[in-house]
Amino acid sequence: MKYVIIGNGIAALRAAESIRGRDTEGSIAIISGESFPAYSRPLTAYLLAGWVTDERMPLRDSSKFDALNVQFHLGRMVEKIDRGSKNIELEGGEKLPYDKLLLATGASPRKIDIPGADLRGVQRLRTWNDSREILERLQTTKSAVVIGGGFVGMSSARSLASKGIDVTVVVSSNRILSQTMPLEAAEVVRSHVEEKGIRVMSETDVVEVIGSQASGVSAVKLANGDVLACELVIVGKGVDARLDLAQDAGLKCDEAMLIDAMMRTNDRDIYAAGDCTQPFDLLRGQQRSAAIWPNAAHQGRIAGANMAGAQYGAEGFYGMNSLDFWGLSIIAGGLACGGDGYESLRASGEMKNGMPWFRQVVFDGNNLVGFVVVGDIEKAGILNGLVRKKVDLRHLADEMLTPGFDMMKLPQELRKEMLGTVNPLAVHLSV
């Protein structure tokens, strides 16, 4: 069996591991435009801050990569996929035949279309190279502007501020993390990060980047005419799936590649996983991309297993995220912002250490469909697990809104379903 994987992110790595776990004979080829071993994209922000070093970027120790017995074609682009003869063609004309192909081509950061956007010092943060370029630029940076207050924007801002750089985050929305949490929670986070030196300017846009060819960016201009001096701009306005290969090969795409629960595309020998796909959204009941790490990893694992002959399916996916700003931790998942047609309940207060806490739970009828936990995150995962359950939990809302919500607050029946019951005979044998 010949397996070919295009891409070398977490979806690709998990797929390769999944294939190798089931098929020790087949050949696996991984093709990537980048020259690095599979590494952690979220760590690029940690690299900026100096919290990790280059050696920590690869996702596995080299012995684990070796054990996978994969042929890596790194630093090479794929020209096209020929579905008829089941080949992929690399740049330069080399052809690789496949029996099963995985597209894990990921996504690229959205560009901003404003004057000056191509000046030196206007950066995005997605790749290891991006973080290296930013680190280089930081040597002459005193102030930075981050465009966009999402996961990438806020992670970048956090890294820069911890290095003592004067950071302003500019968001078009009325709040930071607008896709992740409601205004009330975002305000808690905002006042905390402002104390730590990140300035947030909401409901405005950067309309122009000012600078010169010689020295790059020197300022940005906002919609209201204000000019902010800065030597570095990081653009974090979301990502777009990389679809060129898929579209050219006639694979069905919407905003991203359409796949079924087994991660198959409309070609039964071609699978897709990760940020380039639009899998079934469990909470919205339609195909929708969340483009987050855990989903990519899970999809990759399922795709790999199925390529090697398994029959795994995923019930569905949804968005979730975890962030930590100098000890103020945030975990949110599902339809965390609530909105029309949903019931949103919230509570807030102050923890013993003086840090704020905030909780929101969102119900669709009696089903929990979203949650935000700021502060006391220790058992927030339970709420995430309950979102998947799709059972009547409305009567537990008050408990869920209280820090310390744990397994013993669940109805006994549900808890037993989750933790299982065991044959007394097995007990006898084990003691």
């Binding site: 990790v52 855990p294 299982g420 065991v422």
Partner: protein
């Protein structure tokens, strides 16, 4: 693989499992001085004060472990026997595993930017919490319950060709 299985009917909330877990994972592994060594217990007794029930919760070592999918640094991986193994050196304290664990059994160590979770005492035949449970509320067994299994395909999920039909 043997896992630790908890039975709330037999738990008397004595919290000896927490004590022995702390001892077993302390540098000295000595009951008389482990407390000075700032131990972290990897098991936690939770209570329902109204009913009077309690249960000891710890990592289930799921086959289909969401924490492994969520880990952005490769610090959580399966070992050869199926345990979910934690590599502290790789961990950066992003809390993605905490977000994804449906049992809420991974502890964030906020000061250290690390986590703590049950390792099933790999150096012992029987984990310390189990061998010291006075009521056999914790048992070490080849159970098929109480953790997330590998995903399977339900019929309705496989048959979704409609996604790709024209028009």
């Amino acid at each position: 693989m043997k896992r630790v299985f908890a039975r709330e009917e037999y738990c008397i909330a004595c919290r000896l499992c927490e004590v022995w877990c702390g001892i077993e994972h302390s540098p000295s592994r000595k009951a008389y001085k482990y407390r000075q060594e700032n131990p972290v217990s990897l098991i936690e007794v939770q209570f329902d004060k109204e009913v009077g029930n309690s249960i000891a919760m710890q990592c289930r070592h799921c086959e289909d472990a969401p924490c492994i999918d969520a880990c952005i640094v490769g610090a959580l991986l399966k070992d050869d026997e199926g345990r979910t193994e934690y590599n502290k050196d790789r961990c950066v304290g992003c809390w993605m595993c905490i977000m994804s664990c449906p049992y809420g059994v991974i502890k964030p160590l906020k000061e250290d930017k690390k986590i703590a979770k049950c390792d099933l005492c790999p150096h012992l035949d029987t984990p310390a919490c189990v061998s010291h449970c006075p009521t056999a509320a914790l048992i070490h067994t080849e159970t098929e319950e109480g953790y997330l299994h590998e995903p399977t395909v339900a019929d309705h999920v496989v048959d979704n060709d409609s996604l790709f039909t024209e028009g």
